[in-house]
Amino acid sequence: MSGMNEVTGLFKGLGVTFRTMLKGNVTTQYPHEKEAPPTRARGVIALKEENCTVCMLCARQCPDWCIYIEGHKEKRPPRREGGKPRTVNALDRFDIDYALCMYCGICVEVCPFDALFWSPEFEYSEPRIAELLHDKDKLGEWMETVPEPLPLEAGAEKKK
């Protein structure tokens, strides 16, 4: 264990820790200080009820089967005079169980009518697991926290 190399190596190590001590810390003292997550962060899923046509694609594609949807058919007045009443799907129940949700985003991606959106909100933990089942109204409230989609990096293909 002789040699100046080893001794200087030991001192270099001490220097690293000393410098880090003086440089300050990286701790954010949650909950007194909060960091904002990035815009695309997958925090919670919000539902825009008027767009939903109860096609059940999201419930089918969910890997955990955590979306519970119930709907019924009802007749609406025709669009033009003299036409037949049209049948539309009306949404009765749309629950997402966040105790099961894997936050994968397949439901948001697969929805053909843009009824589901990601929001970076994450502070919704509950003392009881049953309260993690968010119903239609609560999912509608999350819509207020949905951010605008970000502008894309240079070189990305513009959406037509």
Binding site: M102, P151, A156
Partner: protein
């Protein structure tokens, strides 16, 4: 290049003798040490049953399977996008790198090629997964050997990479970003400049750790000559990744295996080390992290413009066939063998994970070592339990 040490040779003979004795007389002198499933030194629920003679290991047996989640069965009843979500969680530290071989195998079966911009971004995220995973290893092996501080530095600097991954994909650990035909969505504005700053920060981190850990004489004395894996033994057991490169074998799937990802377009180097001991494995990984940051820089500069996803049908049905794709993941060689029968999901998936083979060399390796060296060897082989057990 690497020689089996005398100690290992003598210990091997002693083990054979002790095993022979078991059939003849009662074992009276050996103590069985159970590094049980719950233990701070094994990264997760791995069990090593070691028979000791004083402080020296006579025989060691590795019991894994405490974290088996049945991945291969799970993939049989799920569609391709659902499987992509699940396999993020096999090796949970190298987030994006788990999805890549699966998606590439599915693309091979569908005969689809992702556009160049998508391939560049895929390779970038793959290398960033390597930086996040192996960066943590650099701090964490020092923790196993006794130094408390480098682990905190590793966690602190890993956050920068995870923030970049989250800014683009929405998920820090499980990005779920790869899709058949390309990627889910393009990068947000300003991401390239931020990532260049992060890569510079990580190079400083590598230099910091080189001074604090690799240059530390105590660390060197704990690791040099400990756990030597000769190249032939490593190849026979299927050890892969930095472990085999540290034994002098110049083999890297990124360079040697043709792949749609863009490693062949970059200027980079494969790091090897002739010794094959724990220090060599640490050193090779340190160089690999630095190399990965340089690769990401090259890719950021040369990022081509264009679409992010090729034309794929809305409902993905992969035609019947079988495909095998393997890549050099951060932990080693990971591969997916997909058998498709034309359905919405794979008929059968075989997952070749790196850590399972890396850990299988332990019974051979641990013979003749001392008890503190078991910890050093476990730390330097670097496995993730999710990767061993799937």
């Amino acid at each position: 290049m690497t020689a089996v040490t005398d100690r290992q040779r003598m210990a091997y003979i002693a083990t054979q003798a002790s095993e022979a004795r078991v059939n003849v007389e009662l074992q009276t002198e050996d103590m069985t040490l159970n590094l049980g499933p719950q233990h701070p030194a094994t990264h997760g629920t791995l069990r090593v049953v070691a028979k000791l003679n004083g402080e020296q290991v006579i025989d060691a047996d590795v019991v894994c399977g405490y974290m088996h989640r049945g991945y291969e069965k799970l993939t049989e009843v799920r569609t391709y996008p659902q499987v992509t979500t699940l396999i993020n969680r096999i090796d949970w530290l190298s987030s994006f790198a788990n999805e890549v071989p699966f998606i590439l195998a599915a693309e091979k079966l569908m005969d689809i090629e992702a556009p160049p911009r998508a391939q560049y971004i895929r390779t970038m995220f793959f290398e960033m997964a390597r930086i996040a995973n192996i960066g943590l290893f650099l701090g964490e092996m020092a923790l196993q050997v006794g130094a408390l501080t480098p682990a905190f530095y590793a966690f602190r600097d890993r956050e920068f990479v995870l923030n970049q991954i989250e800014a683009a994909t929405g998920g820090r650990f499980h990005p779920n970003y790869d899709r058949i035909g390309g990627l889910k969505e393009d990068l947000p504005k300003g991401w390239v400049a931020e990532t260049q700053a992060v890569m510079k920060r990580l190079r400083e981190f590598c230099d910091e750790l080189e001074g604090l850990v690799a240059g530390n004489v105590i660390f060197e004395n704990r690791c040099r000559g400990v756990g030597v894996i000769p190249a032939e033994v490593g190849k026979a057991y299927g050890v892969s990744g930095a472990n085999i490169r540290a034994s002098g074998v110049d083999w890297d799937l990124r360079r040697d295996e043709p792949s749609p990802l863009v490693w062949k377009d970059l200027d980079w180097k494969v790091w090897t080390h002739p010794d094959g001991d724990s220090f060599a494995r640490y050193w090779v990984r340190l160089q690999e992290v630095r190399e990965a940051t340089l690769m990401v820089d090259q890719m950021l500069e040369g990022l081509p413009a264009g679409p992010i996803q090729a034309k794929v049908p809305r409902i993905i049905k992969v035609p019947a066939g079988e495909a095998w794709v393997h890549t050099d993941n951060p932990l080693g060689e990971m591969g997916f063998y997909i058998v498709s029968q034309g359905g919405l999901g794979p008929f059968r998936c075989k997952i070749r994970s790196a850590s399972f083979n890396n850990v299988s060399v332990l019974p051979w390796l641990l013979r003749g070592t001392y008890v503190p060296d078991i910890i050093t060897i476990l730390a330097s082989l670097y496995f993730i339990l999710g990767d061993i057990d799937r």
